[in-house]
């Protein structure tokens, strides 16, 4: 069995008095693609923000065997190879594609790395479209290109664990297909991936293991192939069966 890269124990996050996620325990093993799926508002983005240290949370998070919650800052985590591609992409709109990518290497630069040109060429090899647009301002890119730039920028940090928040959001099917193909390619290159998705079928097709998040808790978990054929996943999305919860 592959060693554990990231693990949470009973992770809880509150917004004011409301609990957004409740006792979530997940595990990501080295070299795996793990997906967290679930309908809107289930707490998927909150989970990622808590892992990244952007939100105060309770419970335990261990990354590479070290507890991180409240102990390691965001830049510390990025330096250790835990990198998040956020749902809103958060690009530097009025800066060029190349500068956006360069800044992805900022945490490594501070730790002495100077091989940014080579790393950028590697990113361009994965996303040739970005090479074509390197001098263009990020704000003028199309939706698909923005997602590619967000992922490329994260890859400049040479992540050990890449966390993707809804990479398919608002993208046309052909581009979604391309993005998921790259996710698989990253896995082959040795990057572990935590893939948060609403697009359950696509995510489960590429993932090794999956969790279904509903109302802030893990409702189902299993290897991805099993979940793909589980009718309860569909119910949790479209409410076809008229049942109120699949957690029961």
């Amino acid at each position: 069995m592959k060693p554990t890269l990231l693990e949470t124990q009973d992770l809880c996050v509150n917004y004011g008095r409301v609990e957004a996620i409740h006792k979530v325990s997940i595990r990501i093993r080295e070299g795996d693609i793990v997906t967290v799926i679930g309908p809107n508002g289930a707490g998927k983005t909150t989970l990622l923000s808590a892992l990244m240290g952007l939100l105060p949370a309770r419970g335990e998070v261990a990354y590479q065997g070290q507890p991180t919650l409240g102990k390691v800052s965001v830049d510390g985590l990025v330096g250790k190879g835990l990198v998040l591609v956020p749902e809103k992409r958060e690009l530097f709109g009025s800066m060029s594609v190349a500068d956006n990518l360069l800044l992805g290497a900022f945490a490594r630069h501070r730790r002495g790395a100077r091989d940014h040109a080579r790393t950028m060429e590697e990113v361009f090899a994965i996303f040739p479209r970005l090479a074509e647009r390197r001098a263009q301002e990020a704000g003028t890119l199309s939706g698909g290109e923005r997602q590619m730039l967000a992922m490329g920028r994260a890859l400049m940090a040479k992540p050990t664990l890449l966390m993707l928040d809804e990479p398919s959001l608002g993208l046309a099917p052909l581009i979604v297909k391309e993005i998921f193909r790259i996710v698989v390619q990253l896995k082959d290159m040795g990057v572990s991936v935590l893939l948060v998705e609403q697009n359950a079928r696509a995510a489960l097709q590429v993932a090794d293991y999956g969790y279904v998040l509903e109302n802030g808790s893990v409702a189902l978990e299993s290897d991805a192939r099993t979940l793909l054929n589980d009718p309860r996943v569909i119910e949790s999305y479209l409410g076809l069966g008229g049942s109120h919860s699949i957690a029961a």
């Binding site: 004011g16 704000g139 099917p173 979604v176 609403q198 409410g239 109120h244």
Partner: protein
């Protein structure tokens, strides 16, 4: 704690002690307390501006100077009566504050304070250089104020004028804040929501700035007739900043913070100016250093200032816990059921290179619930913002009640009878649930801030609050009327937003994820409420992710994907539509 020390008794004791000051205290103390009154009046304006309006000014000392110089110049050079010069000063102040407000308040909130710095410096130099105003030497020989034949020449006599003015300002300010106008002012920080309730936020920010300027002007008038002499020194920018420190240290969340801040700063300054040079054996404005440091510490530790801390030791007055019955407000005629109320035609919305809505079409009829669904990022909230005027469309037309509205502001659209809730709850967390709901009824009242300051709005106020409580009861929040909105769970806060929208007596209700965060029974109650509103003829357009909720309630469903219209039909048709299934679950073959 014993009942000996009640809020009323504390206030009474304070007033009694205050009224005895001129009779028994040493002249120096009387002078000091006089100054405290003058400073507190200016600080009160800053409490309004900063604590309520989320704006601030460094130029209040200049308004004080305006009031002082207006009366100094006109009484000594033109022999005008002090009462006449008071009016002249206030008229000039109105003009200056409106002009400054007009040029800075449309910009981001920090441009007003920057503008007031320039204003403060400029006026100071004008005072110091104009021959007619006596230059740096100033103007002396200002006559005493004559009140019903009584000449108020001494500091002791003038004491009562100053403190009566201050107390009147405090009472009228409190009255104003506890009214329809005051509620609008207290919500100014949440501009999008406030505008969507039909409230002109620019106007209310102007009003707050103007009131603050008037308080300063009156303080200056009082100062001139107390001192009987003016020169530019007390009206410099540095003094303007000191006024702000008084407000911040005392606390900008409560009107009494101004009095407390002015008192604390005045006494502390006296003491420090005495003590520190002796202690440090050198000259210097050490009190400046101390005030700066104290302000920073207060802002780091307790942003509401020191007054709330003091208040912990006094039992708080119980707020009113009943709503008096009143005549219902007049309602608008609802269109006949089945009539098309809203038409969205080929609406496109672009953000830079992104197309969030692409030639969207939909219609909503009176007496129906139309649901707008689609995966995350499909552009539903964007469309809501286009319809409600929060963020108008790039192309296309929107018609509401036979009127084209895609170029109108959210405020104008609200007046036509459309009301909405927000995906991210936008309530004033510190106001009660009742007050929050009453914001929605803003357009159904007419009384202005002067009328509310003098309590000439009570009949209308009772009707507005009665309406708000009625709508809250309907929404099942009857037991929470007097709770702070922020103390409710998020799901219930969403319901408060619905009640607030209903208070505007809308023809069309836009609900952005109303069921999110609700428990099963609460969802059922909400569905029943919406069904009832539909039966009354209201048109409802809602975005919702809870499919059980949507499918059970909606008459028709429109599905969006990639900003486009994907499907439309009855709930059962949508549930079995393969295109919809694919949009939600994805159909990509890896």
């Amino acid at each position: 704690m014993s009942r000996l020390f009640t809020p009323n008794r504390a206030l009474l004791g304070f007033l009694l002690a205050l009224s005895l000051v001129p009779l028994f205290a040493a002249p120096f103390t009387v002078t000091l307390v006089n100054y405290i009154g003058l400073y507190a009046l200016v600080a009160l304006g800053l409490v309004l501006l900063t604590g309520i309006g989320g704006l601030t000014s460094f130029g209040q000392a200049a308004f004080v100077g305006l009031g002082a110089y207006a009366t100094a110049y006109l009484t000594t050079r033109h022999g005008m009566s002090p009462w006449g010069t008071l009016i002249v000063g206030m008229v000039i102040t109105t003009a200056v504050s409106l002009a400054l407000g007009f040029i800075t308040l449309r910009l981001s909130g920090h441009f007003l304070p920057l503008g007031t710095i320039a204003w403060g410096i400029s006026l100071y130099f004008i005072f110091g250089n104009l021959e007619a105003l006596g230059g740096h030497g100033g103007i002396d020989g200002i006559p005493a104020v004559d009140l019903f034949g009584l000449e108020l020449g001494s500091g002791r006599a003038f004491f009562y004028v100053i403190w009566a003015t201050l107390l009147a300002a405090i009472v009228t300010t409190q009255n104003m804040l506890d009214s329809r106008e005051g509620r609008a002012m207290r919500c100014l920080r949440s501009m999008t929501m406030t505008e969507a309730m039909g409230i002109n936020t620019l106007w209310y920010r102007m009003v707050l700035f103007m009131i603050a300027a008037q308080f300063a002007c009156v303080s200056g008038w009082l100062y001139a007739h107390l001192q009987r002499f003016v020169n530019p020194t007390p009206f410099s920018l540095g003094h303007g900043i000191e006024y702000l420190f008084m407000a911040v240290l005392g606390g900008t969340a409560a009107v009494w913070g101004a009095v407390f801040g002015a008192t604390a700063v005045t006494f502390l300054k006296e003491w420090l100016q005495d003590l520190l040079p002796k202690l440090l054996g050198a000259t210097g404005n050490f009190e400046m250093v101390v005030f700066g440091l104290l302000t920073i510490i207060v802002l780091h530790r307790t942003r509401d200032g020191l007054w709330p801390i003091l208040m912990r030791f006094i039992p708080q007055r119980e707020g009113k816990k009943t709503v008096e019955p009143a005549l219902p407000l007049p309602r608008r005629d609802l269109p006949t059921t089945g009539r098309e109320v809203l038409q969205v035609k080929n609406v496109t919305k672009r953000f830079g290179g992104l197309v969030a809505n692409d030639r969207m079409n939909l219609t909503v009829r009176a007496g129906e619930v139309m649901a707008l669904i689609g995966p995350n990022g499909a552009g539903k909230s964007t469309l809501f913002n286009c319809i409600s005027g929060v963020n108008p469309p790039t192309e296309g037309e929107i018609h509401f009640m036979d009127q084209r509205i895609d170029a109108l502001s959210s405020r104008e659209i609200a007046k036509l009878g459309m009301s909405r809730t927000f995906q991210h709850v936008r309530l004033n967390q510190d106001m009660t649930v009742l007050e929050n709901a009453a914001i929605g009824a803003h357009l159904r009242g007419r009384k202005n801030f002067v009328q509310s300051a003098w309590r000439l709005d009570r009949e209308e106020e009772r009707r507005l609050l009665w309406e708000a409580s009625h709508q809250l009861e309907r929404c099942g929040l009857g037991e929470h009327l007097f709770d702070a909105a922020g103390s409710l769970p998020l799901g219930k806060q969403r319901i408060v937003e619905i009640a607030r929208a209903l208070c505007s007596d809308p023809t069309l209700l836009l609900l952005d994820e109303p069921a999110a965060g609700l428990r099963h029974l609460e969802k059922r109650a909400l569905a029943e409420l919406l069904a009832k509103l539909r039966a009354e003829g209201m048109a409802i357009l809602l975005v919702e992710h809870d499919m059980d909720f949507v499918m059970g309630l909606a008459d028709r469903v429109v599905v969006m994907e990639f900003g486009e219209h994907l499907a439309e039909g009855l709930p059962q048709e949508i549930q079995t539509n393969p295109k919809v299934l694919e949009a939600y679950l994805g159909g990509v073959d890896a």
